[in-house]
Symmetry: C2
Amino acid sequence: MLGNFSYKNATKLYFGDDSLKYLNDELPKYGKNVQLIYGGGSVKRNGVYDAVMQILKANGKTVVEDAGVMPNPTAEKLREGVRIARENNVDLLLAVGGGSCCDYAKAVSVSVHCDDDPWDKYFIRFEEPDCEIVPVGCILTMAGTGSEMNAGSVITNHEQKLKIGHVFGEEVMPKFSILNPTFTLSLPKRQMVAGIYDIFNHICEQYFSGEDDNTSDYIAEALMKSVIHSSLIAVEDPQDYEARSNIMWSATWALNTLISRGKTTDWMVHMLGQAVGAITDATHGMTLAAVSLPYYRFIMPYGVKKFARFAVEVWGVDPTGKTDTQTAEEGLAAMEAWMKKIGTAMDLSELGVTEDMIEAIADATIILDGGYKALTRDDVVSVLKASL
Amino acid sequence: MLGNFSYKNATKLYFGDDSLKYLNDELPKYGKNVQLIYGGGSVKRNGVYDAVMQILKANGKTVVEDAGVMPNPTAEKLREGVRIARENNVDLLLAVGGGSCCDYAKAVSVSVHCDDDPWDKYFIRFEEPDCEIVPVGCILTMAGTGSEMNAGSVITNHEQKLKIGHVFGEEVMPKFSILNPTFTLSLPKRQMVAGIYDIFNHICEQYFSGEDDNTSDYIAEALMKSVIHSSLIAVEDPQDYEARSNIMWSATWALNTLISRGKTTDWMVHMLGQAVGAITDATHGMTLAAVSLPYYRFIMPYGVKKFARFAVEVWGVDPTGKTDTQTAEEGLAAMEAWMKKIGTAMDLSELGVTEDMIEAIADATIILDGGYKALTRDDVVSVLKASL
């Protein structure tokens, strides 16, 4: 049943190996002061920083730097970004990097003109912005989160051992995003693979819920097949532009609200993975990979028809003469083989998780109930233990 | 190869059986004078007109009526609509109907504040709007054209025997569209089927061109499969809300620019069908259906790999032990069987075309070259003759 919904996504995208030049079309729309947000310096090594800076200067912008956004951006860093924006009367937040930088920019954007502490307001109390929002633009250097065309933001609080995402309203979406697949080519292979699994799991989270025949489910399967196809090429040759560009485009559509329209959604793999991230600071995509198979094998009996459909439509399993459960199990086995082939983390031990950390991770896990089975805390612990 | 492109689609959609109420959220954004655009009166019979009028009145709007938009809106009618808008200082063009009304509203929107004749300016000289554009909203009562979320407009000139579409820029897209699947339930079955084939062909036009491995191709296949699935349910029971709602949602995504991103596109079936429409005034979707199979069988050898992929991915043809040509032929045979099952027109004779009209239709056919083979005029004639 396709439920009732609204849809609007006004982010302007520029996609391709020449797309950075369109920054010249966007900059004149905003005021003079630009906060340039980036991470640990890879954008300096690969030349993207210089290219962006040149365009900013050519457009007469005053640039204030906001460097050092970490892979899991922290509440502390967020407060610093808000301070920088306030002190410099910033007119545009320009994130140059992966999903972490985009997520962080959005969290800053809704906090600059608000008095409350941003962590408490948006990630503990889940309030909506009630103040002016500073516009955000993204120049993406890693495919994965879909943050370039959605209103989501995930922030980590190490003190409180929490990693929490807030999906804001459409007014928080980036005004524009520049997607140049060549910017992703210098990424270390493990980061590329983490991004690929993040994309795949975003689709799974929206697919493994509700009934079977929605247009959204068909589109989800298409995106999964495209990601699988291109990932196998990209792990053989990370410089394959076609594969990397299709991965980048799939990432955007995997999480820009389209494939969740009219459906319930799950998101428990993200809740588990984010809890692992809160305790270990491990790479997001790899935390998802490490818990996915134990989680899906646990919930499969409660959504067996969808898992059987997944096996047939996404993995090409022949269902002839098999029960739905057998077909579904073959699908998950095919998914496991693919994950091994592309080189995702296959368990939590690889990420440094030990048995004595399980209770703390379970404590940090937010339990949602949109999937085929609402987990109990005991279920969370047993999925985590099975993931070790 | 995923080519370079930009993408923005800011139309706000309200989807579902309760979606009309959101007209109350949109109306306050616009001025007092609303031009209410509709067709032959079916919206009066099914109650949609009254429901819309009540909301307009409750929001204090002054309504000026613009009724009688025909299935193939004419240049003459367009000039009348422009006159109505000018005389009444219209602030919002509100189309209540199918794609014809939405297309027409967009053509009016770019013409109200321009001095030139709209037919000559936009459909003969293909100029872009250089004057203020009046905002458009759509309340959709028929699934098919995708006009509710794109910038396309097709206008017919009977005098000149031409039916021409112009795809404008993103600023011409409707500001909002209300998609209530229950509004489509009172449509005559033949109109529903024409709409379904229109959707399917929109996808084909963007799919049968270029190489194979783009994310866009995967999404196109997903939309085709969803349309086929739901169409078979809808022809058995046109009152099946789930099927009709998925058809409506697929229609929007079949032609809102997404699946053409990074690809070349064909559109020759539309060029042929529109020429048939210009001469006969036959229903748009049926003109497409009548020429599709002869056209695809004609071009198949030039794009055989894609047609074989179509057969396998969309129609479930088993390619084992077959040549690509054999697989492709089986796919087109499966498509033919589906068309017969849902009840599309299967040839031009059904639409009143006789052999002596072929030359005039060929004269009215605009030849594009984005598909697997650029047709010559002789090719056009032979495809049309094969369609009789």
